[in-house]
Symmetry: C3
Subunit: 315 residues, 3 copies
């Protein structure tokens, strides 16, 4: 049984896209469509979650992601409480579950959780009071489902659907929760060809079991794809043993206009941000006509509004 769904099959928590049925993914994307115009209105608010208390519980710092959830919650008229736990109770020796039990007792309606440990959001979801909803905003290398969803929203928006798409996920797949969420969503939504393009040292061993085709050369991996989903190369990897140097990485794996030419002429380029220009992506691509990186951000608000309203708004 799927711990993310209620007994009658509705979304209860959003922890991972792994195992979530296509029906739910599509419902989230459709709901997000309806919120897309809220941001353009004179008064950018809908009263769906008025009086609900949403806690952004960030055990790992991330201003950007926290902000998108905060904006999404405020547009739904919820009350938002931001907690940077890294600097607080945890350092006082309290356990994760005690922290969560305490926050539950403050009559929260929803936790948006980021944690450096894979599985943290699942653990929390299993221990909160029954009425509390949990959204995973990134757990270790495991999952970042709202990022995966906003990428799907972007693909559908620009490409019309998934059933004829050839998509390449490029870069540090090994350490990327974003890549995992993207791959699960793409395969579930019927994308016929999902590729990962990366050096061997940046691929998980069992990656092919996720239903992807592996490429170790950009020229081959990008050939005739409809979309390139670039991954961020984290700074700490650049000094690591798995990579020669940022400059070398750029030469082989950085998305330049030349390499992008292997893709279809109308291929789009996504990136979850923040970008390392001149490392995994060239500025000419990042700022080029094929990049849809900023629309991704805008769509991310709508997608998070959709998830939150489906979870707490009584659907």
């Amino acid at each position: 049984m799927n711990e993310q769904l209620t007994e009658d099959g509705r979304l209860k928590h959003l922890l991972t896209l792994d195992g979530l049925p296509a029906r739910i993914l599509t419902q989230i994307l459709d709901t997000a469509e309806s919120f897309l115009t809220v941001g353009d209105k004179e008064v950018k608010k809908v009263p769906l979650l008025r009086g609900k208390a949403i806690f952004n519980v960030f055990f790992e710092n991330s201003t950007r992601t926290r902000t998108t959830f905060e904006i999404a919650a405020k547009r739904l008229s919820a009350d938002v409480v931001n907690l940077n736990i890294g600097t607080s109770s945890q350092s006082k020796g309290e356990t994760l579950l005690d922290t969560v039990a305490n926050l539950s007792a403050m009559q929260a309606d929803m936790f948006v959780v980021r944690h450096s440990a894979a599985g943290a959001a699942h653990l929390i979801a299993r221990h909160v009071a029954p009425h509390i909803r949990v959204v995973n905003a990134g757990d270790g290398r495991a999952a970042h489902p709202t990022q995966g969803l906003l990428d799907m929203f972007t693909l559908r928006r620009f490409k019309g659907g998934f059933h004829t798409l050839r998509v390449a996920v490029v870069g540090d797949v090994l350490h990327s929760r974003v890549a995992r969420s993207q791959i699960h969503a793409l395969t579930t939504l019927g994308c016929p060809e999902v590729r990962v393009v990366a050096p061997k040292t940046l691929l998980p061993r069992d990656v092919e079991s996720m239903g992807v085709h592996v490429f170790h050369k950009m020229e081959e991996g990008l050939r005739d794809v409809d979309a390139v989903l670039m991954l961020r190369l984290q700074n700490e990897r650049m000094q690591g043993a798995r990579l020669p140097s940022a400059g070398e990485y750029y030469k082989r794996w950085g998305l330049t206009p030349e390499k992008l030419k292997f893709a279809k002429p109308d291929a789009i380029v996504l990136h979850p941000g923040p970008m390392n220009r001149g490392v995994e992506i060239d500025s000419a691509v990042a700022d080029g006509v094929q990049a849809v990186i900023l629309p991704q951000v805008t769509f991310g608000i709508a997608v998070r509004m959709a998830v939150m309203s489906m979870l707490a708004g009584g659907q």
Copy 2:
């Protein structure tokens, strides 16, 4: 004259429970009762403090306490501004009173203040503009009145009242502002037997002048009590000269199921959190049926709503 009361005897500031009349304490507890159900409603808000500006002025970091005040204020529809002063003006050389005068000039209605120095909240209350209300959220070792009040609320809720209660406050009384607030409240509200149970090195010298009975053995101190109010042993104490080790402390003073058996069978166990499991409290007790530690948190929101609305809502 009591600086916490107006001339006609109503609550003006909440700085300490020391000297606050039973009538006021009871009024706060009664008001909190009426707020207890707000958290269960679909829309968790009442408009009592709409348009009021409440400043959480924390000179000492505390995500947990700050969050409970923030939630309480938002449920009352107030605007909340969080200020972590530790990292700001104070480090620029400004005096405490200048900081407070400045915040006053921003037309705040209420300051919720935490400070490492005993008396800080009193000092601030004496210097703010006459319309501004001050709530002490913890000052040094002196007082933590809303914690004391929520403990009283919890006792009354589970035990029906104070007049027949035998209560034990257990642990590091010396460094605990919570213990001081609890003892003042218990004696004021007519609790006939308040005990403190602690090693001599963790008791203030004059503790008996507060109207408590001192015990140096758990077996004796817990015998036939109706409630055990555990105190947190702060990490920095564990390495201190006053204690052998965390393990030794646990052996003698940690609340285990065995030691809890000395109390009445229906005795309840409170703890202000965050807990050090395996130090001052055993997990079997913390998670056991006698623990009311999570209800304390829920009640804490209602109690803080009560205090804030009495201070700023025109009563």
Copy 3:
């Protein structure tokens, strides 16, 4: 053409007071007058910016300034999102413009920006989407326009106008964005005599080109002035090569009651805060009847409400 104005001459961004026409400055001050009473009302809110999203984007930490903008925005019923960027994306290697492009894509209506680099707010204003408004909350040594405006508001309020005023700006002009904004505003608003009073080492070389008279002695510089605008001496300067010591500075440049006697008997004293008592200002002056330092803070809220509502409220 002035990048701060729309084609039909209305305020579009507030980046600097340098070059802003007197008409706009006066409009801001007049609008602020109308907001001054909002803070005294039972419900301190007007619905002018309801549903607007205002981002406080602080690349440089400042609790005090951030708080005044937050309060002003909340009184206008806007949704406020606080971002301390110093600790986030920037440290992940993202460029300033990428950070801003991302925040823009979150459908912000206004950025309030503080940055340690002069020109940062201008750079941002040139790159945001056309509907987004930018307010400079301090950029390097260049400008702090809302501080300059609130000082003008204070002067006008206590002195009735600018056309007969003799004003002295005293202290570390060299490093002060406040001084620059004050001088531009004073000369634009028709103040006939603006003086700067400072040691040579704390004056910019070209200061006279700004239309001020330079004095190197307090006795002469303060003689018969209507207002003394004290500047803060930043801690890091006190150890610098440009100054002998804080004690020496106080002796020569600290505003004592004795030195203040050179000014007109009804001269007022301003200070942007936080004050270094006993360094640039004596407590007898800071707390004296001629000081209008706390009214400055109160007026600052009204001035920031005026700027924000003019920018985002459709005027």
